[in-house]
Symmetry: C2
Subunit: 208 residues, 2 copies
Amino acid sequence: MVQTSTDVRTTAWSTTTIAGYTYGTSDVPPSPVSLGDLDLLKQSVLFGPEEEDWLRRAGEVLDEQAEALVDHWRGIIAAQPHLSIYSAGLDGQPNPAYGAASKPRFVQWVRDVCRRPYDQDWLDYQHEIGLRHTRAKKNRTDGVESAPHIPLRYLLSFTAVIMTTTKPFLTARGHTVAEVDRMYDAWCKAVMLHVTLWAEPYASPEDW
Amino acid sequence: MVQTSTDVRTTAWSTTTIAGYTYGTSDVPPSPVSLGDLDLLKQSVLFGPEEEDWLRRAGEVLDEQAEALVDHWRGIIAAQPHLSIYSAGLDGQPNPAYGAASKPRFVQWVRDVCRRPYDQDWLDYQHEIGLRHTRAKKNRTDGVESAPHIPLRYLLSFTAVIMTTTKPFLTARGHTVAEVDRMYDAWCKAVMLHVTLWAEPYASPEDW
């Protein structure tokens, strides 16, 4: 059977072998953010149907590079003790088991950004990811002992890395400069949308 | 006298005519963030001497376009009621006087991003700008009645607009694609650095 674009997307959802990846399951609590709130946020980042299309195309380019992208980001984290401490043991020593356990979810995140519909399941899972950065849920998924909370300032500042370092990866398939720019634009908007949702547990409901 | 690059920078600091622009004055409370913390944040966004150089060059391109850039952003805000409410009166009606009063500071912010040294004065003023988005200080600078607080989710999501819409403006001086990309990269990192600092009042000290 010839695999169509739709098949590829379906394949991406066959992720039951990723430990702790609970997307779309009853293990994920409902997001306090409504789909109406999400719609306003999509407007705020200027993310419309065109950006959605370019993000899908970015996903086609990033799919096979998703692991290399995560390795690249983790190399940047590993080189900065104030960042690597959040994936290290409580003694500050690297914890390869933690890194190995969380990596497939990080790789899957790259694919999900580009391919998932931004619906209720997606919204709920962004809430879950946000919680997993904070003292509410960090370390529990993998049963590890590590720093209990990633400060908001590093969540936000590292977003600059997640965005900007992706640009060269988007050139891998020979798209024109203009096409890469559109994919990159959609990627940056989508990443900011994710991080905005992940920031929700850090502020009081009336402040967020 | 021939104006050198240094003179241009000096000229940019002659901003005493901007009402409410208190950069470098004793009206600005000290930031709770130390210069050491700032250094870690600069590392986290991968903002080093090269980025600083490209940001200076971006500033040369954006300087004369700073007002047009702010007008562009404000047009995007005006078109979205859930964003424009934060610059409107309490009755939801536009408040042109508020917009007119705050605009020169917004324009100056574009120039400051690109030209100011990121020192203690700069750090303190980012704290002040952060506070001016929140119920701690919003509306006081201009003595207006408006919504008392900009939610974190709109501060963060609109950052995507501040970043991505600047790209076309960076092409105005005929730089190569590669040069524009470097300027844009530095701009995005610098903007994320600013917004990370502005987010500080939204979270508890142990969470930020």
